[in-house]
């Protein structure tokens, strides 16, 4: 096999790399392009369309493009929020896949300088009667719970959906929300020639190598052998890392901070350099490795969890050592910021890779894919509801409906999540949105995550639009005013014209609702290739939403309160 194929690149992509470098890339460089130009990291099949999103608003302090979006909630406070998929890893190792999904999204929040205060999750499975589904459900729920519970972040809302289209491709979308004082916003940028680049947190191992490209592949037999792609989460380490980073951010030594997620050190270094318009030089020999004999290539693309890259003002490194030492964590200077725009990787002082940072971060070719309205839509939209027979025994039908896993109570799920830790949860799971109080103010925030993928299948545009509306209704019903959206777009292969039609129209649908409701999209994530040889998932654009509750005393739950109270149905 051609070397570029082994790292998941196409011939024309390889040619573009040669053009950028003016030479053939070496093995390390090729691997770095492979992970950065994968669908998962480069958004090459979605970037063009994501530009359509309504991302502006008076409250928006940080839109898409950073680790998380940030909105102003007044009183000097802001909310950081982001949702992300961990579908493929969870299909292979439900417990660890889901757990590391939570870990990743938490880091996205605290890199922004925000303290995580709530987690949400949207999980989708095949039919519950299958043993395989049960095993996935148990593992995924336990993984989400154990990780969030251990770090001490309440999981206050979510959704759990069953449909046979997810039989081979369960979905795990993890969302996290944090609070910060507006003045404390941090970004993932590297600036200031000579400033230090530090790697903090866990050691670097061979786990998760190739994970980013793995996330963008169909789940076929091959991936079952792709064994090193699964990582084990360490929530205890995450908790320490979170406390240490939040303490560090309060000092004046941090220039930029970025977590190491997909594509590890490669992505963190080229993204921070590219955002800051600078270059970075790192020496892999300084990275603390878990195993002996790791090559520069392995170190650069390892996806070991619970690590962060911190850009520190020159001369203030000691402060970082002090704080990380207190928390019992590693911190090492692995390089420095330069002004030549290059990501230069050294091994004991010898250059082993050197590429323009921005070409890795944003240089991948953008695909403008063609799309076509899928045929099934015509067939389904021609169905006449009037022809459906009315059930004879309505009481029986009601009971059947209530028993359906999609309608029945999800207490089995959320009772495994600590939804009260932190003592801010005012409206607990089991209702519409979760509501948290904001200590020190009269306010609260309402949070929800919603999608009706069946509607999205019937009509992607209307379905996506109605998912935004459903989220907004959940927020409003809990006493909040919707202010912003984070979205996770789960779809099948973008190479399929019908799927791309679903994708495009879902974005347009979200966009219309988002404009009308004045809820800009401030962050999000795309997950393609959620399909197996047998089937593709329904289009599933999951909407995470935050709303402000001006007076927390006025938040509302769904329970009937007193005998004799009137019940009124409002709306159309």
């Amino acid at each position: 096999m051609k070397p570029y194929k082994m790292v998941g690149l196409l011939e024309e992509e390889y040619n573009k790399i040669v053009e950028i470098l003016g030479r053939e890339p070496n093995e390390t460089e090729l691997a770095m392009y492979g992970v950065m130009w994968s669908e998962h990291c480069s958004y090459k099949n979605s970037r063009a369309l994501l530009k359509l999103f309504n991302t502006k608003g008076l409250r928006v302090l940080q839109g898409p493009g950073e680790n998380a979006g940030i909105v102003d909630i007044g009183d000097g406070f802001a909310i950081a929020m982001k949702i992300e998929s961990h579908n493929h890893p969870s299909a292979v190792e439900p417990y660890q896949g889901a757990a590391t999904g939570v870990g990743g999204i938490l880091r996205d929040i605290f890199t922004m300088g925000a303290r995580p205060i709530a987690n949400l999750n949207s999980i989708r499975f095949g039919e519950l009667k299958d043993e395989k589904t049960k095993k996935l459900l148990r593992g995924i729920v336990r993984g989400i719970g154990d990780y969030g519970n251990c770090v001490g972040i309440p999981t206050i809302s979510g959704e759990t959906v069953f449909n046979k289209c997810y039989n081979d491709n369960p979905l795990v979308n993890a969302m996290s929300v944090g609070i910060l004082e507006k003045k404390d916003i941090k970004k993932g940028t590297a600036r200031g020639v000579g400033n230090s680049v530090m790697l903090v947190g866990h050691t670097t191992g061979r786990d998760g190598i190739g994970g980013a490209s793995f996330a963008s592949c169909d789940l076929t037999r091959e991936s079952e052998e792709n064994r090193s792609a699964v990582q084990v989460g360490d929530p205890f380490m995450e908790k320490l890392l979170m406390e240490a980073c939040l303490e560090l951010i309060k000092t004046d030594c941090v220039v930029g901070i970025q977590d190491l997620g997909a594509a590890g050190l490669t992505s963190a270094s080229c993204e921070t350099a590219s955002r800051g318009g600078s270059g970075i030089e790192i020496d892999v020999a300084r990275v603390i490795t878990r195993e002996k004999g790791m090559t520069p290539r392995e170190i650069m693309i390892s996806e070991s969890q619970e690590r962060m890259l911190v850009i520190v003002e020159k001369g203030k490194e000691d402060k970082v050592f002090e704080i990380f030492n207190k928390w019992g964590l590693h911190a090492v200077v692995i390089g420095r910021v330069t002004d030549d725009g290059m990501l230069r990787v050294l091994e004991n002082g010898k250059v082993v890779a050197e590429v323009p940072a921005s070409s890795l971060a944003d240089g991948s070719p953008v695909n403008y894919r063609s799309y076509r309205r899928p045929k099934y839509m015509d067939k389904l939209s021609n169905m006449d509801i009037a022809n459906l027979p009315c059930p004879e025994n309505l009481s029986e039908t009601l009971i059947t409906m209530l028993k359906s896993p999609n309608i029945a109570s999800k207490e089995w799920v959320y009772s495994q999540y600590d939804y009260m830790v932190g003592t801010d949860t005012v409206v607990v799971p089991g209702g519409d949105a979760g509501v948290l109080r904001i200590k020190g103010t009269k306010k609260g925030i309402a949070l929800t995550v919603d999608c009706n993928s069946r509607y999205c299948y019937l009509n992607p545009y209307e379905g996506a639009k109605s998912s935004v509306c459903e989220a907004a209704r959940n927020i409003t019903a809990s006493g909040g005013r919707p202010i912003a959206i984070t979205d996770c777009l789960n779809f099948a292969s973008p190479e399929d014209e019908g799927v791309y039609y679903q994708f495009r129209n879902s974005i347009l649908g979200i966009n219309e609702a988002s404009r009308i409701l004045d809820t800009p999209v401030i962050s999000g994530n795309v997950s393609f290739y959620n399909q197996s040889e047998k089937m593709a998932i329904y289009p599933t654009p999951t909407i995470g939403m935050v709303g402000i509750v001006e007076n927390i005393e006025n938040s509302m739950d769904i329970h009937f309160k007193d005998k004799g109270d009137s019940i009124i149905l409002v709306g159309e």
Binding site: E93, G205, Q231, V232
Partner: protein, 81 residues
């Protein structure tokens, strides 16, 4: 009766947070050791059968339920009870 003693451990390349924490715990108590890895120990009692069949059975159980070959490996011994 036969008894199988099965040990399940994480693959070598995979991080073992429990082991790391315990290693540090031991060190605090003054025990300096090289590495600690923590896994599961499973004891299964089987009805009498020949050893070969027992081994086949245990292998099957491991691969089907007891371990996830993505991240774990196993080994076992079988003894008469």
């Amino acid at each position: 009766m036969l008894k199988a003693y099965i040990d399940v451990t994480l693959k070598k390349s995979i991080l073992d947070p429990q082991g790391t924490a315990v290693k540090e715990g031991l060190s605090k108590l003054g025990f300096e050791v090289e590495t600690v890895r923590i896994g599961k120990h499973i004891e299964v009692t089987l009805n009498d059968m020949n050893r070969e069949n027992a081994e086949k059975l245990i292998d099957e159980m491991c691969l089907k339920l007891l371990i996830n070959p993505e991240i774990e490996v196993y080994s076992y011994r079988i003894e008469e009870e």
